[in-house]
Structure formats: structure tokens, C-alpha cells
């Protein structure tokens, strides 16, 4: 793994990889990212969220129109929630919801479905490119943070994270640390030790 810079040659022949482009028979990086020489492409270090259908997102209701909700996903396009006939929930402006992307239309407009309210709690915003690291392989990272801090956490792929209960301060601190050090290897282990240390000292203080 090495850091590549836009315009850097990653292959001397044309190869189809994510976040690269091909010109005059060579493959170039188009974003700042980590290049995996096994040819799996470039993992971007920064950047905006690119919505895909089936993504789980966390959003805030910003407008209620006749039968349509406009949802703020902190994204440059529009996102709409069009409830079906037998919808279980209704929302008002300012409500936090969890939803799935049904489809991404052109212009771009996101159509959401399966919306659920997230009552109480707080919302924090992280860099969208770090979200996959915060979730971890098979949810290991987020489960670990939730387990240690006893906080319910829902991570939206758009970069908004909802937290409720437990030690929210520690949970958000741990998430911030993952965000900061997302490109470092062995992070799950580091965070585990960090959480052990923090929750351990807290217990001692309570008993002492």
C-alpha cells in the first residue's frame, strides 16, 4: 500500500481499476488515495459520498410537503422520501431518520424508502470516506465501540452517525479517532486497547 497523488502513473498499460483513468495506454490515479499493488484499485482518502442504491443512510427531515419528505443527507443532490400507502410512521421537520436508498436518479436525486424514526440521541457528522473504516469489516469496529460504551450507534454511509445512550462522549471520541487514523493498519486493535483503557480507568474511579 502506498499513497498516490492525482496524475500519478499506477500502471504502464491500460487497466480498469476504481478511481483511475486511462490515457494514451497508461493508467493514472485520479484521486488522493492508497494504492493496493495487487491491482484492486485505489482507495480514496478523502472525498464526497457517492450514493448507491441499498445504502443505509441517516438523515434529517428538512421539509414536509404534501405526501413527500425532503431529507437532508448533507449531500449536494436532493433526497426525497415518498411514503407508501400503508406507511407506519409520519415525520415532522427536524426528525432524524434512518432509511435505505431505493434508487439514485439523475440530476442527482435520491429516492429513499424503509424510513424509521431515530428518536432522541444526537447526530454527528464524519468524513464520508472514513465511514467504511468506522463500520469495520463485518461491523467489527462499530460493534466494538457500541459494546464498550453501551451506546446505540447507527452509521449512515452518507457520513451522519446517530448515537444514543451510554457514554456518548467516549463513543464519539473513539469514532473521531477512527476518522483521523483511518489509513493506519491494525486500527481495530488500537481502538480496542484505547476503549479498554478508558472504560477501565472509569470503573476504578467509580469504585475508588
Amino acid at each position: 500500500m502506498r499513497i498516490v497523488i492525482p496524475g500519478e502513473v499506477v500502471a504502464e498499460r491500460p487497466e480498469r481499476m476504481e478511481n483511475t483513468y486511462i490515457q494514451e495506454g497508461r493508467t493514472y490515479a485520479k484521486v488522493l488515495g492508497m494504492y493496493d499493488s495487487n491491482g484492486r484499485g485505489i482507495i480514496p482518502l478523502e472525498g464526497a459520498w457517492m450514493p448507491r442504491s441499498d445504502d443505509t443512510v441517516v438523515g434529517i427531515v428538512s421539509e414536509v410537503r404534501n405526501k413527500v419528505y425532503v431529507i437532508d443527507l448533507s449531500y449536494f443532490g436532493r433526497s426525497l422520501l415518498i411514503p407508501g400507502k400503508y406507511e407506519e410512521y409520519s415525520f415532522s421537520v427536524g426528525d432524524v431518520i434512518e432509511a435505505r436508498i431505493k434508487e439514485v436518479e439523475n440530476r442527482p436525486t435520491i429516492i429513499l424508502s424503509e424510513a424509521k424514526p431515530l428518536s432522541e440521541g444526537t447526530v454527528m457528522s464524519v468524513k464520508p470516506r472514513k465511514v467504511l473504516r468506522i463500520i469495520g469489516k463485518k461491523n467489527t469496529m462499530v460493534n466494538q465501540i457500541a459494546g464498550f460504551t453501551k451506546t446505540s450507534i447507527i452509521v449512515g454511509l452518507n457520513g451522519l452517525i446517530w448515537l444514543r445512550g451510554g457514554d456518548i462522549g467516549l463513543a464519539s471520541e473513539a469514532i473521531r479517532r477512527v476518522e483521523r487514523e483511518a489509513h493506519v493498519s491494525g486500527l481495530t486493535e488500537t481502538i480496542r486497547r484505547y476503549l479498554e483503557e478508558k472504560t477501565g480507568t472509569k470503573r476504578e474511579m467509580e469504585t475508588g
Binding site: 499513497i3 497523488i5 492525482p6 496524475g7 478511481n19 483513468y21 490515457q23 493514472y28 485520479k30 484521486v31 488522493l32 480514496p44 482518502l45 478523502e46 472525498g47 464526497a48 449536494f76 443532490g77 439523475n106 440530476r107 442527482p108 470516506r129 483521523r180 487514523e181 489509513h183 493506519v184
Partner: protein, 243 residues
Amino acid sequence: MASSSNKPELIVNGRRLDGRGFDELRTIKIVASPLKNAAGSAYIEWGNNKILAAVYGPREATPRHFAESTRAIIKCRYAMAPFSGLSEHGRSGPNRRAIEIAKVTKEVFENVVMLNEYPGSQIDLFIEVLQSDGGTRAAGITAAAVAFAASGIPMRDLPYAVSVGRIGDEVALDFTMIEDNYADSDMPMAIAPRNNDVLLLQMDGKLTREQLSKAVSMAIGAGKGISEIQKNALREAYERSSK
């Protein structure tokens, strides 16, 4: 402004006023991502120039009718702080010169940033000159390129910019403010290093054909060093945060 009646000697004993040779750059330092709230940012010290560049977005284009359905639009603001210069820039706010520089800077990045990835959106670029000493548009573009790369917005290349020109019969690189004011010709250039595409070329004064080609090759020669400084700044930003 410069007038020929009080023109100082710009070359003394075959050296320039600050002791540089004709093809020497001033020292350049770049820090990537100094600003937390921006999508990407960079701070550059190019000789006595001190400039901040910041990229925000992509976000929803406002007003809505400026949005393009097939690509993002770039909005650029170039501004000199009221305290940045020696005398002439005492008034803040946009003026003819700032608007011109913002326009040519925007066009540099419209040619390297892959705008079609974010249709309907707007990307804001801010260049704030805190201290100026000649060649701020070149330094601003060099910093803005780092800010764009640090924001993760896809781009074909990492452009750099540098000014070249002529003092008497000598072609020289990277003018300071005093050289800029009194030299016979001044030509800022922005170049995409991957295939040396010229993204910006403006010229004051006159150059002969031979001087022009010498100036261009001087700019491209210096560019290798500038590019390396830009890339190191981006790498260092990640090494710094992992400590």
C-alpha cells in the same frame, strides 16, 4: 506603479537583488489540510508570499439556475488581505485585478478537475493572500492544486504555476514584487506536469521568440521541484495525522 524614471538596478554583479541566479526559485513550503472545516485546504509560503487556499464542496449550486445538469461548476474567489501588500492593496473587497485572477484560476482547474462526476453541484475555491511579494497568482494556483487534491475531488493532474520573465536581456524565473514592477516582461504560467499542458499563460511586456521558448523551458524545469513539494505536502499530511 512602476515607471522607467525611477527604475532600480535589478541585476547587480550578475545576480538578482535577493542573490538568486536567473533560474532559481525562492524557497517554497506547503502544508496540506491546515483547515478543518474545508473539504480540502493548503497553506503555502513562497518566498515572502503567504497564501491560504481552501476548497469547499461539492455542494448544491446556488443560485439554482447557475447549476449545470452535466457537470459541477467551480466558483473562485481570490482576495488579498488589506494588510498583505506594501501599499497598493490597502482596500479590501473585489477589484478588477482580483476578479481577473479569480477567472483565470477557475479556468486552470476547470481543465484538470473531473467536473462531470458531480453534476448539478458547485465547488468553491477560495484563495486568500495574507502577505504578498510578487507571483501571488502562481503561488495561489500551486496551493489551490494541493487543496483540490486534499479534498478528494477527482482530477487528472496536480497542476503547478510559476512566473517567468525578462530583466533586460536576461530571462529569469519567479519574480519578486520589485522585479515584477520594474522588469521588462513578466509571464505567469500554470502547467499540468503529466504532459506539460499549459493551463494559464499571461504576459506583460515583450519577449522574442527565443526568449519565450527559453522562458517556457525554464518554467517546466522549475516545475519538477514545485511538483515534488506539492506531493510531499500531501503525503506528510497523512503521516502527520497517523502519529
